[in-house]
Symmetry: C2
Subunit: 535 residues, 2 copies
């Protein structure tokens, strides 16, 4: 039995587009001599659709219409798909079609077993099918070592989004022999129709799967996600504000690779606080990438805003001036340039900044998509080095940008030439924030570990950093509380209004509910804190 399995690109919410492709794939499979073709989970509608989209009669009738087109196209070939069952209760959930009608599983030439994601196969079939519905970022590979039967995994490629989160789907289609060894694997993130002969599976040699680094995995997912998201919203031109810092440099390099240098507009927007160092690094970056480069200073506009406000009686503190600069860059300049060229501008925030809201709303927190906001700062650096080495094969991101102290350059307190920068010590805070955001720990757990000297080991940062940055318990606690309050306070308020985030983990911001309820410290935390401070 010759089996075709389609690692199809699904366009969520577009049954017309998906059906057209399904019909083409059925034709191709038939032409290539397949007896059966298998489609990924919910390939007509897609899985991530708006809550109300299918919840109406006209939409369900439409789905039935497209399904009927597929049913009509099943001449001389078995077509297998998991129907959009939640919405069409009268259609079999696991559908086998041939010659224009649903057929009973028992009439299929071999016994089939079906499972979704990591479900256990019950009983045994001659052919086991595993439908994969989870995105790439969930990072689950489902092996089937104890099945004693061949297993085919079928997944889709493409992107799907839930509004606040954009997920990439890498497919994950593969064939396993009865010993649980991979004998055929579809290229990740690539739409393709694959063929296998059921009888040959157990005679095929096990494949050695290539090991890839974390940076490579991230690069693949992010570049694929960005490319597909731009296509989906019909945009090609991308405006990136470049500061001479690492995040914007990585964004610039990434988008250049995805849409081509001719479609990327790099804009440096210096105020009086921006050093020649970072201005030169920005220019060097643009030269290396071959992108259009613009310098649009903001000092006059910032001064004018301050003057206008003071002229009607407001006092403008230096902290307020910092955020005026950030908003001037994004909401005044970048948004207008993007609109002028008929494109979009990017949000370059990383996950550490997003955790504690260390970004200005309508300023550097703005943009059409946050491609890097599910990456910790160290992962942004890793990605920079990876792209220089493997993607460009030369130093497109200047080493100076990788080496310089991270700084928003919004005041003299952040003078990079004096080695001053952000209030975040990323080699420690990356890990503290990951404990908050991904491991779901509270200050109570953190302080407990601190008290017994096990913090660094448990959160995964380098040994000695806690002692180095916080000589006393008082300093440690002040830092912990500062960022916990930021995480649960302004951080939440800012995330509510931030752009969609491209998922790399299974817990990007936006993928779970966050209520604007402020912070809380547990009774035990407060007791422990008092004990530590009283020592």
């Amino acid at each position: 039995m010759r089996i075709a399995y389609a690692q199809m690109k699904i366009s969520a919410g577009h049954p017309d587009v998906n059906t057209e492709k399904i019909l083409r794939l059925i034709d191709e499979a038939r032409t290539q001599g397949a007896d059966v073709i298998i489609f990924p989970y919910m390939s007509i509608s897609g899985t991530m659709i708006s809550d109300n989209d299918l919840n109406k009669k006209s939409a369900l009738n439409d789905l039935r219409y497209w399904m009927s087109e597929i049913i009509s196209a099943s001449q001389d070939i078995f077509v297998i798909f998991v129907a959009e069952y939640a919405f069409l209760p009268d259609v079999p959930q696991f559908a086998i079609i041939k010659n224009g009608k649903f057929i009973d599983e028992r009439k299929f030439p071999v016994k089939i077993k079906v499972a979704l994601d990591d479900e256990v196969f019950r009983g045994k079939g001659r052919l086991c099918l595993r439908f994969i519905s989870v995105p790439f970022s969930f990072d689950r590979r489902f092996f089937d070592e104890e099945i004693n039967r061949p297993v085919i995994h079928v997944g889709c490629v493409g992107i799907q989004n839930t509004g606040k989160t954009v997920y990439t789907f890498d497919g994950g289609s593969a064939v396993f022999n009865s010993r649980g060894e991979v004998v055929q694997v579809a290229e990740p993130f690539k739409e393709c129709l694959n063929f296998i002969d059921l009888e040959k599976i157990d005679k095929m040699p096990a494949l050695e799967l290539p090991k890839i680094s974390e940076a490579e995995k991230i690069y693949r997912a992010i570049s694929f996600g960005v490319k597909n998201f731009l296509e989906q919203i019909g945009m090609k031109k991308v405006v990136v504000g470049v500061s001479g810092g690492i995040d914007s440099a990585v964004a610039a390099a990434l988008y250049t690779k995805v849409v081509g240098a001719e479609n990327v507009y790099l804009v440096n927007m210096p105020s009086k606080f921006n050093s020649s160092t970072t201005k030169n690094l920005s220019e060097q970056l643009a030269k290396n990438l071959g992108c259009k480069y613009f310098v649009v200073p903001i000092q006059e506009s910032v001064d004018w805003t301050v003057k206008q406000l003071e002229s009607v009686g407001f006092e403008v503190s230096s902290f307020v001036k910092e955020n005026i600069q950030a908003r001037d860059r994004s909401a005044r300049i970048l948004a207008a340039i993007a609109a002028s060229v008929g494109g979009v501008f990017t949000c370059n925030a990383n996950k550490a900044e997003s955790t504690v809201g260390y970004a200005t709303l309508y300023g550097d927190e703005a943009g059409f998509l946050s491609a890097l906001a599910d990456l910790w700062k160290y992962q942004v650096y890793d990605l920079a080095r990876y792209m220089n080495e493997k993607i460009f094969g030369r130093e497109v991101i200047p080493q100076g940008i990788i080496d310089i102290v991270p700084s928003a350059e919004l005041s003299t307190a952040q003078n990079v030439d004096e080695g001053k920068g952000d209030p975040l010590r990323y080699d420690y805070h990356d890990y503290l924030f990951r404990a908050f955001a991904e491991i779901n720990l509270s200050p109570e757990e953190i302080l407990n570990w601190y008290a017994c000297g096990e913090l660094e080991k448990n959160i995964g940062c380098a040994e000695g950093l806690v002692e180095k940055y916080f000589p006393t318990a008082e300093e440690f606690i002040a830092d912990l509380e500062r960022w916990w309050k930021a995480f649960k306070g302004m951080g939440v308020a800012k995330r509510i209004q931030s752009p969609p985030i491209l998922a790399v983990t299974d817990c990007p911001y936006g993928s779970f509910q966050e209520s604007q309820n402020g912070w809380h410290f547990t009774k035990k935390y407060l007791e422990l804190k008092n004990n530590l401070l009283a020592r």
Copy 2:
């Protein structure tokens, strides 16, 4: 048996604050001679908390600690509450406590029956308790006419939020006699401890409940919501951009009533397109309200931005200039003023604009809260008239603002003195958009109704409007498709980054998932369209 039922204000995510209040209420009930006190649903933790907040050991232990404080405080009084059961499986879901321990329901002096929201009471108890967990905006009153037993409803007051949506809770606490008549009712939106003697309930006369208008209901909920949200985030000073239009005028009046004129900063930000008419109306509004009033023109800054962009080679179209104005007002001026005074600035968008994204991101779509974004334009007008008549007792919102054509005044095409304004005909589009957003209809249903002449009746707008605005099917369809695409396209993209919305209905934007998948027209819609156009 003397029963106290606490219409308590719950602070979601703050078990320490809630427990302190619960202990005080227990004391008060005991002092006032109550035999039993009943608390609202999940009164220790609140219901709308961040997804991960209770999903950790330290948080559950903390909850247990606060629960133990309540248990210890139950000397000589029965304390009844619905435990935070989803998180503490070993604690009885419906808990009765006395003298420091959980007691069995069967040891309570009378038989109790419990229901949540609109659940049916099974069997009969001498005392029936209905715990109310849904917000005000769900607008469900639960009557118990066929119970044949007294029923006590217990609900909380306050606000709770899910990030994108802020819900108000009006309490809804009341006592019904065996005939299902209300005999006691707690004041909506007010925290209070109420008492009733179980034996007297059936002897009490039925209360005549006051009828209140929709505008009054909305005003109560919104003013309560805004007040409590500001308190919750610790803000008092409010900056409102006032254009001379209806939305900003209603926002200005609302916030003035809530925080007092001394805390409200009204800012008019004219460009060359703003008429003397609207400038004068803004000033009149500020005088009527007694608020601080500032005029901060944006023309110089807009011209400067255009000049800067052109100087580096970009072409700035008139459409791009429109949005530059909107962002200049919010992101440059209002955000900076709010930061200067240590306050917030408001988003004044209504639900019609939000539906189709007729607002500029980082411009008039920005702000700390959208207090009016769950109201259709006609409801904003109703609210204006209601506030003038009933809340202020005089014309604080000038009649000129109520009468003028709605206009963004961003170009000469929107000259109000020539009667020109927004592309929306609110008397029709309010109802079309409500059909999209609240009744969940698609263009297929709309076009079907249009074809058989039943559209106006079915969507609820005035008769004759369709014919008036769209003399031909072609014009009708062009309008329908324009706004459907806007609703499913840019509208979604903008809503993802818009501020939290104060809920008035049970389907404000942000309370359900919207994927950025673009628009789709069903096969049947396209057929019907072709038929209509071929006529």
